[in-house]
């Protein structure tokens, strides 16, 4: 069904001196439309099915906030809500609707409600809201998989990079390690010290990374929530993500520290100090 269109904002009360006063019907509009047309609650507007065509003068009763629905965020359309009879009359479609929602009682499984409706009536199908969401979010599942693939590639590349950096940084300290070995510090002590330091660096690094990620996601959300006038959160850093990042970082730090330390302690102390 085509959406009813907003044609014009009326400057004052309708001029209908001879007729009985007509109480305008009320509608609600969404924030995006209110912002774009500079409308407020109480304003009266002309609502028509076609731009420039005949319509009804309506009063804006409320301004609604859109839900965080990713399937709608990029659509540059406005939303106006009317009473059903008003909408049918304006659209000229009579007693006909494309779809409607049924709220089930708390505790009742939506699947059983849908099955009961399907069994009781012919000519339409009922779907649980979750099924509709899954059906309409197929694109987002693809995007999600794409993001996951990028994430895995990034993690693998970062792990290799981290290992190389750790090897280089530890190798830079081979003289210190050689001196420690000359002084009688055991291989185990050296390995323990290097691994411990790598683990601490990993923990601090992952904490800094999580903080940076949180700040970046806040910035992204602030920007795009403004652009699309939606409460949708475009980037999120959940406790699960932080825990995964810290665990992964710590694991990589321990492994790279251990590998780097083993490379050092296998060499003779004199070789390490360059003699």
């Amino acid at each position: 069904m085509p959406l009813a269109l907003l044609a014009a904002v009326l400057p004052g009360p309708p001029v209908c001196a001879q007729a009985a006063p007509v109480v305008p019907r009320t509608v609600t509009i969404d924030e995006r439309l209110a912002a774009a047309a500079a409308l407020a609650v109480g304003d009266r507007v002309l609502l028509a099915p076609e731009a420039g065509g005949p319509g009804d003068t309506v009063t804006i009763a409320a301004i609604t906030r859109r839900g965080a629905d990713p399937s709608e965020v990029a659509r540059s359309e406005y939303r106006v809500r009317l009473h059903l009879d008003h909408l049918q009359r304006l659209a000229g479609t009579g007693d006909r609707v494309g779809r409607f929602a049924v709220a089930s009682a708390p505790g009742v499984a939506p699947e059983s409600v849908a099955a009961a409706i399907d069994a009781a009536a012919f000519g339409f199908r009922a779907y649980p809201a979750a099924a509709v969401a899954i059906e309409t979010s197929a694109t987002f599942r693809v995007v999600n998989r794409f993001h996951r693939a990028i994430g895995i590639i990034t993690i693998v590349a970062s792990a290799i990079f981290l290992l190389c950096i750790t090897l280089l940084k530890v190798d830079e300290r081979r003289r210190d390690v050689g001196a420690l070995r000359l002084l009688g510090l055991s291989r185990a002590t050296v390995v323990r010290a290097v691994v411990l330091e790598a683990a601490l660096v990993s923990l601090v690094g992952s904490a800094m990374g999580a903080g940076l990620g949180w700040a970046a996601s806040a910035l992204v959300n602030w920007h795009y929530q403004g652009v699309y006038a939606t409460p949708l959160r475009f980037a999120i850093v959940t406790p699960g993500i932080v825990a995964f990042a810290v665990t992964l970082s710590l694991g990589l730090g321990l492994v790279s520290g251990w590998v780097a330390a083993q490379r050092l302690v296998r060499r003779a102390p004199l070789e390490l100090v360059g003699r």
Binding site: D176, L182, L183, G184, L185, S186, L270
Partner: protein, 242 residues
């Protein structure tokens, strides 16, 4: 007099491009408790190799080395490491202080590895730093210390676990003449207080300060001169006094 170090027919050969190089050729050397021996000779004569062998840093190709009654030539890697920690103290030309640790922490490091209780090692580190004249610099890091001060910290560190023998490889090699003299004076004081010292050096002033000078050439001892005999009341236990 107690024998602290006894090396017998020690040899060290290196294979270089398939050809053996004889760095040390059958050296025998005895060092008694309280001695200060300076090993001198031209570059490449094998004196540093000999010091490494005496300190269980390297292993001889043949011969035996006994320090404080222990044959160090036959030690495995872990045992040799442990021996370097507690049996001998090392002073190197380049100090090798840990840059992130304070002077006191550097001195404590070998004691921490040897599982000396914290309170005891902190007290010992302060005592040793006081002995080498750095009581007021205990909390300074190496980059805040002069070369001479760093070497004095290194000497304090070498004495931390009360080794039987102090080995020093060119201890004045990185220092200017004045600070070199200060370090020599410190080594002299240590020796007079009972520390047994073996140094390898090119520094004539350091060699002159030692009680005994051993000349090495082409991997062999060519001369062994006692300049100042040990006093009658020399230490009998072989352990470094500090």
């Amino acid at each position: 007099m107690t024998l602290v170090l006894s090396a017998r027919d020690v040899r060290r050969d290196y294979p270089v491009a398939g050809t053996p190089v004889h760095a040390v050729r059958g050296i025998s050397l005895d060092v008694h408790a309280g001695e200060w021996v300076a090993i001198v000779g031209p570059s490449g004569c094998g004196k540093s190799t000999l010091l490494n062998l005496l300190g269980a840093i390297d292993r001889p190709s043949a011969g035996s080395i006994t320090i404080a009654g222990r044959d160090v030539a036959r030690l495995g890697d872990a045992e040799a490491t442990r021996f370097r920690l507690t049996g001998v103290g090392f002073v190197f030309q380049r100090f090798y202080l840990m840059p992130t640790l304070t002077a006191a922490e550097n001195v404590e490091l070998p004691m921490a590895e040897a599982k000396v209780p914290r309170v005891e090692r902190e007290a010992r580190a302060r005592e040793l730093l006081g002995y080498v004249g750095l009581a007021g610099r205990a909390d300074h890091r190496p980059f805040q210390l002069s070369g001479g001060e760093q070497q004095r910290v290194a000497i304090a560190r070498a004495l931390a676990n009360r080794p039987a023998l102090l080995l020093a490889d060119e201890p004045t090699g990185e220092l200017d003449a004045r600070t070199g003299t200060e370090v020599i004076a410190l080594l002299d004081r240590l020796n007079r207080d009972g520390t047994t010292i073996v140094t390898v050096t090119h520094d004539e002033e350091l060699a002159q300060a030692a009680r005994r000078v051993v000349h090495v050439r082409d991997g062999a001892i060519v001369d062994d001169v006692v300049r100042r005999p040990l006093p009658p009341a020399a230490p009998a236990d072989g352990a470094a006094r500090r």
